[in-house]
């Protein structure tokens, strides 16, 4: 009896899901191209990972390549330089994460408090304009600003008698990470705050009114209404940016760097270029790529898991 019932429910479930498919056939059909697109451009390329286990040479077919097992990975993990660039990459991305993440939120909160709409709009536009300036130009501006030859920062510090000799900002390795982080902050703060401003705009004004009636001042309202209101956005953005930790690109480091700060400026992507592709070591480059992807996925999944447990917010 029970068995029969179970079989019937299964049967019904099957029929149900089939009916659902028939019902939503147009929607499914419409999403099909994107699934195909995703498959071709994001899953098929994974086939290229086989290169990491070969001594890949261009112009030969897949079957003519020499298979070398984990040699490339062994080489990678026994290279001191790799740990150096890994350190630089992780350090700079963490700094970028902390600064590039908290500052836009604070900026959005402050901007939101401004009552004068025209002023607020102008501020917003001005603050996100640098996002559209290429790193080449930003690097030029930064080096000029920090120059010892009439650079405004040095001139200012000299005029205020804080220093008596111009400081060679760009020649100090330990400062390089800060210079990169701060120029990144200058460039991206406005842009990154847009999404938070949008989230703030979505908060129900009645909540503010209620808070005001309850006697909450400005900071109380910010703390108890605005921040909780954009909490989901904050966490989703955080989880996503943790996933990108390993992939910070190399434009800023490459353009701002110079021989004196080399040990602090080289990042993974540049290492891939110099020691992988440029030396024709495609396999080696692919091995680093795999390592990168695995670390990114691990970071993403674990941060997602932690946040799910702690705050019930997650992307997956």
């Amino acid at each position: 009896m029970q068995l029969q019932l179970k079989a019937e429910t299964i049967e019904r479930k099957k029929r149900n899901s089939w009916r659902k498919i028939v019902q939503q056939r147009y929607l499914l059909l419409m999403s099909l191209p994107f699934v195909v697109w995703l498959f071709i451009f994001h899953y098929l390329p994974l086939w290229g990972w086989t290169m990491a286990f070969q001594r890949y040479r261009p112009g030969r077919s897949f079957f003519e390549q020499d298979w070398v097992g984990f040699t490339n990975f062994v080489q990678l993990f026994s290279d001191e330089r790799f740990y150096l660039v890994l350190r630089n990459t992780v350090a700079m991305s963490f700094m970028a994460l902390i600064v590039g993440y908290t500052v836009p939120i604070i900026f959005a909160l402050l901007l939101n408090e401004i009552r004068l709409i025209t002023f607020k709009r102008t501020m917003q536009t001005i603050s996100y304009l640098p996002h559209f300036v290429s790193w080449v130009i930003v690097a030029g501006i930064v080096t000029k600003m920090l120059s010892t030859e009439g650079g405004p920062i040095n001139e200012l510090l000299m005029a205020l008698n804080i220093i008596d000799q111009p400081i060679q900002f760009m020649a100090k390795g330990e400062w390089f990470w800060w210079i990169v982080t701060l120029s990144d902050m200058w460039k991206e703060t406005g842009w990154n705050s847009i999404i938070f401003l949008a989230a703030i705009a979505g908060i129900d004004p009645e909540q503010y009114e209620a808070a005001t009636v309850d006697g909450a001042g400005r900071f109380r309202r910010m703390w108890h209404v605005t921040l909780p209101g954009i909490r989901p956005t904050i966490f989703i953005m955080l989880i996503l940016s943790i996933g990108w930790l390993m992939s910070i690109g190399f434009e800023k480091q490459f353009l701002l760097g110079n021989p004196m700060v080399q040990d602090y400026a080289e990042v993974i992507d540049l290492y891939v270029l110099n020691y992988g592709i440029n030396l024709g070591r495609y396999s080696y480059g692919t091995a680093i790529g795999i390592f990168n992807s695995l670390v990114s996925i691990t970071l993403l999944l674990s941060s997602n898991y932690i946040f799910k447990r702690l705050t019930k917010e997650s992307v997956i």
């Binding site: 010892t148 992939s247 495609y282």
Partner: protein, 577 residues
């Protein structure tokens, strides 16, 4: 995020390549298995029997060749200029040239990986990547059959075009002018004319002479045009440190330009030039210059544009650089009429006994050139086209222009009118408008000073023309030294033997070998450690230098040197058998 996208792109490209390769298999394999076979021979045979290539009777039907050139030519005009159209008219060939955007090596690596080649490829220093991928066809037989002009052009140097001892195929026809004469120094120690004038035109032969001129001038003139004067500025932006920081160490110690190497002229043994004890003393001198405040503090930080801006402001008294690197900035000084602030070039060395070898001849440098790809449409037409470019007719067209338009013939001599000459030297768009000079380098060409069948030079350059272009200040300075030209200050070419190995910087260390990785690592160390040594306190210089030496030793210097010597030996045997 973008970094990730790029990585994906590379992986994707690689996958596509693998897919592409498997489908292309047959064609590629044939090319690989027999480098000198198939593609090169098959069309050659049919042509030999059919149209009779030896009489010069050529197929003029329209054909378009795609080409990749690693050297950006801003004057390229899609063959729409008078000269470009004339070339199409006379050969039927239209060239569609693609130039690199961004990193050349990356572009070429991807090209090799994808197996998607244009018909003609000029890959400059990275052609070994393409050769390894089997991208070029062997031109030996094609040149033999269809290349009378190429044979005449390269003459005894034809064997220098061979790729290697193991693979003596000719994959490309050399780009540099054959038998070119050098009339201008490429490298040197530069001093503003004003400083030399104020010092009373002293003899400038050693580092100490050079230093004294700068020092005295700065002491008397702490500011130039209201801004603080800079004694000596170097440029170390990215790869430029090679030109302005490390190469001059070889030159000041009497070595010719062999890139990162110094080849002993007697034993023909190469060593990484930075490891020579003489050069340590050169860097010690730079350290001293920094110590006494004459070296620009920003030398190792500044970007190239800052460097150029500084030079064109006229407040840098001395440079140590290659002419082509500061030429642009110097031109700005000239246009502003600050003729005193332009630079003279002096062959400064460690001491009086060392001869500055800027004019030492490397013989013909065959390392770079245009090759025909394994996927080219019609290799015979391609080689005929390259051959035609090497002919007297084409050389005159490309260098002088069209008769009656860009030059006229008086008493059997080609003459360029003053008006036309003026346009040539002052109009930056001249090449683009006329097409003159667009199809010389990197195509096969005769060098400066070589005479054609009528006894005139193929190129329009001449000693007189260079001297004519000097400013009055330059002429005055030169006259004080009893010289006509800057080259007169330098030890002449005939004081040196011709280097039997050519230029060592053209010897490529094969990709993907340990040596290539070692070279990269060692270069990274050099780039960082030499500035460190120069900027160290003088009493710490030796310590920094020693740790620099032990660092590169640890990265496998000995193995690298051995590897390179093997390559050098091969080149010596290949070129001189």
């Amino acid at each position: 995020m973008r970094g990730y996208a790029r990585l994906l792109a590379v992986i994707l490209a690689c996958v596509l390549i693998i897919a592409g390769c498997s489908s292309n298999n047959n064609g590629n394999n044939a090319g690989n298995a027999q480098p000198s076979g198939n593609a090169a021979n098959a069309p050659g045979d049919t042509d030999g029997k059919g149209t009779g290539g030896e009489t010069g009777e050529r197929d003029l039907s329209p054909i378009t060749f795609t080409m990749f050139s690693a050297d950006l030519n801003p004057n390229y005009e899609n063959m729409q200029s008078p000269v470009g159209q004339e070339i199409t008219k006379r050969t039927g060939v239209t060239l569609n040239i693609e130039y690199p955007v961004g990193d050349i090596k990356q572009k070429i690596s991807l090209m090799a990986a994808s197996g998607d080649y244009p018909d003609l490829i000029f890959a400059k220093g990275d052609q070994n990547i393409l050769v390894d991928a089997g991208a070029f066809i062997d031109l030996t037989d094609l040149i033999e059959e269809h290349g009378p002009n190429l044979k005449k052009l390269y003459g005894p140097y034809l064997k220098r075009l061979r790729y290697s001892k193991d693979d003596p195929s000719i994959y490309f026809v050399g780009s540099f002018g054959v038998d070119a004469q050098q009339w201008q120094p490429n490298n040197g120690f530069q001093l503003q004319h004003a400083a030399v004038k104020e010092a009373g035109y002293p003899s400038i032969k050693t580092l100490q002479d050079y230093e004294k001129v700068i020092k005295d001038y700065i002491e008397k003139n702490p500011t130039i045009d209201g801004q603080p004067a800079i004694g000596l500025s170097l440029i170390a932006d990215d790869w430029r440190y090679l030109i302005s920081v490390t190469n001059p160490a070889v030159f000041a110690t009497g070595g010719p330009d062999d890139g990162e190497w110094y080849v002993d002229p007697q034993t023909h043994k190469a060593a990484l030039h930075h490891t020579r004890p003489e050069e340590k003393e050169y860097f010690r001198w730079l350290n001293h210059m920094n110590d006494i405040g004459l070296l620009d503090k920003e030398s190792f930080i500044q970007k190239y544009d800052q460097y150029q801006a500084k030079i064109s402001s006229g407040r840098v008294v001395g440079l140590i650089d290659a002419k082509w690197q500061y030429e642009q900035a110097e031109l700005a000084l000239r246009q502003e009429g600050k003729l005193d602030r332009m630079y003279g070039m002096y062959p400064v060395t460690m001491n009086e006994n060392v001869k500055y070898a800027d004019f030492q001849s490397a013989g013909y440098s065959a390392g770079w050139g245009i090759g025909i790809s394994s996927t080219a449409k019609d290799p015979v037409r391609a080689i005929q086209f390259l051959d035609w470019l090497a002919s007297e007719e084409a050389q005159i067209l490309n260098n002088w222009g069209i008769e009656g338009v860009h030059y006229t013939i008086h008493d059997g001599k080609r003459v360029i009118s003053d008006e036309e000459m003026n346009k040539r030297t002052t109009d930056p768009e001249y090449g683009k408008k006329t097409g003159i000079g667009v199809y010389t380098y990197p195509f096969p060409q005769y060098g400066d000073g070589v005479l054609d069948s009528t006894g005139q030079t193929y190129t329009i350059n001449s000693k007189e023309q260079i001297a004519k272009n000097y400013t009055d200040v330059e002429k005055e300075v030169l006259s004080k030294y009893g010289a006509q030209m800057w080259m007169d200050l330098y030890p002449a070419a005939d004081e040196f033997p011709v280097k039997p190995w050519g230029a060592a910087w053209q010897i490529n260390i094969p990709q993907e070998t340990d040596a290539a990785v070692q070279m990269q690592r060692i270069s990274d160390i050099i780039k960082k450690r030499i500035p460190e040594a120069i900027l160290a306190k003088p009493d710490q210089f030796d310590a920094v230098w020693d740790s620099f030496m032990s660092d590169i030793q640890r990265e496998g210097l000995d193995q690298l040197t051995e590897e390179f010597n093997g390559l050098l030996q091969e080149r010596l045997e290949l070129w001189n058998d």
